[in-house]
């Protein structure tokens, strides 16, 4: 049995999970911080 498909699967799960969460968190942070700035302008 080749071990490489298991290794590739493990790395894919780890990298997609980690960088997917990082990208999602970055997008959410930018979206809410932009909303704060736009509300400041409406004062």
């Amino acid at each position: 049995m080749s071990h490489w498909p298991f290794i590739a699967g493990a790395y894919a799960v780890a990298l997609i999970g980690t960088f997917g969460l990082a990208g999602w968190s970055l997008a959410a942070m930018r979206r809410t911080e932009r909303a704060v700035e736009s509300l400041k302008g409406e004062r």
Binding site: I7, A10, A14, G17, L21, S25, E42
Partner: protein
């Protein structure tokens, strides 16, 4: 820690730190995983499957560290009522849950070629699965309390009580007969050769820095959301 409890002071520090932790973490992950995949030697017994260690061990460490952070933030919320403590605990929960899931999934992918099974109800694996359920419970409870306008004290108590699972995970390989290997890395010595330990250390440092950046991003988003809600309430009044 008390100094950082002020949101304005926290944001002044968090803004530059987020980028440094994020880019530093990504760079260290690239170095650590490339080293682990292509330069580190295979294990004499497990062969190439040992390379899963470079993602599995950092995920396990961060899954547990995430809950330790929730417990510390919960204590601060209950004892000192720090305004940032509940925000920090909520920001830690999802990354902690994701890394616990990564630990379980990569462990399963390691177990199949190494032990011949995807899953075994032994102490280490079961207590790690319990940690994932604790995270899901904490997220649900904190969200429900926030929607009702509560301070999140119930979630804080849950965060403290759930910390009981951390020593159970750590000592599970000593307390019960298990398929999972025993402790390989201690504070003073390690049974892993340095040719494998260095890429593991770099990979763990990289994932830890990126975890820190993710938590800071989620805290900044939560604080910005609070500002938006407060401003909308003032505008509506």
């Amino acid at each position: 820690m008390h100094i950082l409890a002020n949101p304005t002071r926290f944001l002044r520090l968090a803004r530059p730190l987020t980028a440094w932790l994020g880019w530093g973490g990504a760079l260290l992950i690239a170095v650590g995983l490339s080293w682990g995949l292509f330069a580190a030697p295979p294990d004499y017994l497990q062969g190439d499957t040992v390379r899963i260690m470079y993602v599995h061990v950092p995920a396990a460490w961060l899954g547990m560290a995430g809950w330790a952070g929730i417990a510390a933030a919960s204590l601060m919320q209950i004892v000192w009522r720090h305004p940032l403590a509940a925000v920090a605990a909520r920001a830690l929960a999802l990354p902690g849950a994701v890394f616990t899931f990564i630990c379980l999934a990569t462990g399963s992918l390691w177990g199949r070629p190494a032990w011949g099974t995807w899953w075994e109800w032994d102490g280490r694996m079961t207590s790690m699965l319990v940690l994932l359920f604790l995270y899901i419970g904490f997220i649900a409870l904190a969200d429900a309390e926030r929607e009702r306008g509560g301070e999140g004290r119930l979630a804080a108590i849950f965060g403290l009580v759930g910390a009981i699972n951390l020593p159970i995970i750590h000592y599970s390989v000593l307390w019960w007969r298990t398929l999972h290997q025993g402790q390989s890395i201690g504070l003073t010595r390690s049974s892993i050769d340095s040719s494998m330990l260095w890429p593991l250390f770099i990979s763990a440092a990289g994932f830890s820095l990126l975890f820190g950046a993710i938590v800071l991003m989620r805290m900044r988003a939560a604080l910005a959301q609070q500002k938006v809600e407060a401003r909308l309430r003032r505008m509506a009044a």
